[in-house]
């Protein structure tokens, strides 16, 4: 097992390296210059000032030197300073990471709470009206853009709060950690979590349904039935446990994407998360920040995949990683 994990971690290195090269090259392909952008916002544009700025943030160095510095930073986990704000990248990311992680976890919980019961019941009651309603619900979830769902949720909050309290209420926009003021925190983050959670539940519901349908036709389910095991027990213990593998995979992949891919939803709900930071750093040409962010997202993605594989062995004891 340990050897398997070690092997997998080693296999992550080429992916991470490839991602590092890709983001390094992509960032430098973007036309423009961070120093010009920075100075333009400050007024005067002097060749000497421009050169000083380039020297300060290191863009005057040859590409290879810049790349090696980036690699050194990765290896020592010292990402340096943001080229835009001058603050340490670890601090800038840390602030947003909390928020993004919380939304991602809450959205995943929402997705699980919706997908597993609905997918299961839809499979058990295949081709009845319940099945059709659930399928319609999940197909709608895939088709609806989550930012539109977000707008609708905000619209709903406005209209209901106005009807109930007389004055419109809006979710707070300043992030407060969960342990400081749980009510305030949840009243802010529950909405984006619902909007994205519903969308992600749709894919997982469909997956649960098709996996359950397959498992319910297995011989051991028939055997259990013949033994006279309660229907509920068959569904829960015999079928669901075996149907969960592909669902766990889907949920894991989505969780990884939620960490970096919430760009649009964050915009709708005015959240200061990783996605927003990414958009800002790309448009500001903040090489250091973008590189660090991309490496973070790719690393989360790779680690989540590893975690899912380990979870497989736990969910299905037949899977062994001895080789």
């Amino acid at each position: 097992m340990l050897r398997y994990i070690l092997n997998r971690v080693l296999l992550m290195i080429p992916t991470l390296l490839g991602a590092a090269v890709l983001v390094f090259v992509l960032m430098r392909l973007i036309p423009g210059d961070i120093c010009v952008l920075r100075l333009a916002s400050g007024g005067g544009m002097d060749q000497q000032v421009l050169a000083n700025c380039r020297q300060e943030i290191g863009t005057d160095q040859p590409m290879l030197v810049q790349f090696l510095q980036f690699m050194k930073g990765l290896l020592t986990l010292d990402f340096g300073k943001s080229m835009w704000t001058g603050r340490p990248i670890i601090d800038e990311i840390g602030l947003r990471f909390q928020l993004s992680l919380q939304v991602a976890i809450m959205a995943t919980i929402t997705a699980i709470l919706i997908a597993i019961p609905l997918g299961t019941i839809s499979a058990v009651k295949q081709n009845t009206w319940i099945d059709y309603v659930v399928r319609g619900f999940s197909i709608a979830g895939v088709a609806m853009p989550s930012f539109w769902l977000g707008i609708l949720i905000i619209l709903g909050i406005l209209i209901t709060s106005k009807a109930l309290f007389g004055s419109p209420w809006m979710p707070p926009i300043r992030y407060v950690p969960l342990w400081v003021d749980p009510f305030y925190n949840l009243s802010m983050l529950i909405w984006p979590a619902l909007a994205t959670g519903y969308r992600y539940s749709a894919v997982a519901t469909r997956m649960t349904r098709s996996a359950m349908l397959e498992v319910l036709r297995e011989d051991y389910v028939r055997t259990a039935r013949a033994k006279g095991v309660y229907h509920k027990l068959i569904v829960r213990r015999h079928a669901l446990r075996n149907a969960l593998l592909p669902v766990v995979t889907i949920l894991g992949i989505e969780f990884a994407f939620l960490m970096g891919g919430l760009v649009v939803t964050e915009q709708v709900f005015n959240l200061n998360g990783l996605g927003k930071l990414f958009v800002e750093s790309v448009s500001n040409q903040d090489y250091n920040m973008t590189q660090a962010l991309v490496m973070l997202v790719v690393a989360i993605f790779a680690l989540t995949n590893l975690f899912i594989d380990i979870l497989y062995g736990w969910l299905d004891p037949r899977i062994r990683y001895n080789r």
């Binding site: 490839g18 973007i30 853009p145 990414f278 958009v279 790309v282 991309v294 790719v298 993605f301």
Partner: protein, 294 residues
């Protein structure tokens, strides 16, 4: 040589196209519904000039934020532009982005995927490595990076959406092509001394067409969604071009309370289009290749 590669049962007994279409609809009512939505969207895009009376881009400050009425079926936006007209013209933007990026991205993926399976060895390993790296990026992040490089505007958005699709299609096609590679007719083609290009294009590509078509249909829906997201962020199609995502930007949120139609109808258009392509794609998958999962 053509007689060898043609399947033996392509005899006159094959049912007519119309009968096949009918059978498809009867077996997949949901898919047929999706197909219907797709056809309506295409008709809207093609006949936009004929089915609308207003100019989609001209401001009319005498009719700002009008509620839906007989005159303005779906109301007007904050510049007094008719929403129905803009949604119909928006279908043009959405479908051209969707079709072109899905087709180009899918086709490049098809060629790379088949080539990767055909050549195998080091070429395959390197290709798969590159694809792995590209797939590790969330779709929207890769598209955002592309937009930053190429700039905004419809053509650049198409390019930005096309590139992230290539690895996704290549991955699916490659796995089918690996199976095709082992078949006797590929051995036969090799024994005949055909070149790589001929084997790939004439013998392998036609046999992985089913997964290619399925991935491509699914990609159209995704591309429409991506274009809407990028335009919503202000990084996609630019004003005054009518585009659904762009219509939800700015005005829709500011006026959500007083003029909810501005926020509601473009979203319905996006959802319906994606819904249609997804249902149609699912049915196509079941019909062409029941074992394939995308």
């Amino acid at each position: 040589m053509a007689t060898i590669s043609r399947p033996a049962d392509q005899a006159p007994s094959r049912p007519s196209r119309l009968a096949q279409l009918w059978q498809f609809c009867a077996e997949n009512p949901l898919g047929a519904a999706g197909g219907f939505v797709v056809i309506v969207m295409i008709a809207m895009a093609v006949l936009a000039d004929a089915v609308t009376v207003y100019d989609p881009t001209r401001n009319n400050f005498g009719a700002m934020l009008e509620a839906p009425s007989r005159e303005y079926w779906l109301g007007t936006d904050q510049f007094g532009r008719d929403l129905y007209t803009r949604i119909v013209y928006g279908a043009r933007t959405a479908l051209s982005v969707g079709f072109i990026s899905a087709f180009v991205g899918g086709t490049l993926g098809l060629i790379l995927g088949v080539a990767s399976a055909h050549f195998g060895g080091r070429f395959d390993l390197i290709m798969q490595g590159i694809m792995d790296v590209l797939m590790a990026f969330p779709l929207i992040i890769l598209a955002l990076a592309m937009v930053s490089i190429f700039g905004t505007g419809t053509q650049n958005v198409i390019l930005a959406i096309t590139i992230p699709f290539i690895p996704r299609c290549a991955r699916v096609v490659r796995s089918s092509a690996l199976a095709v590679r082992e078949t006797p007719y590929i051995d036969a083609a090799r024994a005949c001394g055909f070149g790589h290009a001929r084997i790939v294009m004439r013998h392998m590509v036609p046999n992985v067409f089913a997964p290619y078509l399925v991935v491509m249909t699914a990609a159209v829906g995704q591309a429409i969604l991506l274009e809407a997201s990028l335009s919503f962020l202000g990084l996609g199609v630019q004003e005054p071009v009518p585009a659904w995502g762009l219509m939800l930007r700015g005005g829709a949120q500011d006026y959500a309370e007083s003029a909810p139609w501005v926020a509601i109808f473009p979203g319905i258009a996006i959802s319906l289009a994606v819904f249609g392509f997804n249902l149609f794609g699912d049915a196509l998958r079941d019909w062409l290749d029941p074992k394939l999962k995308v």
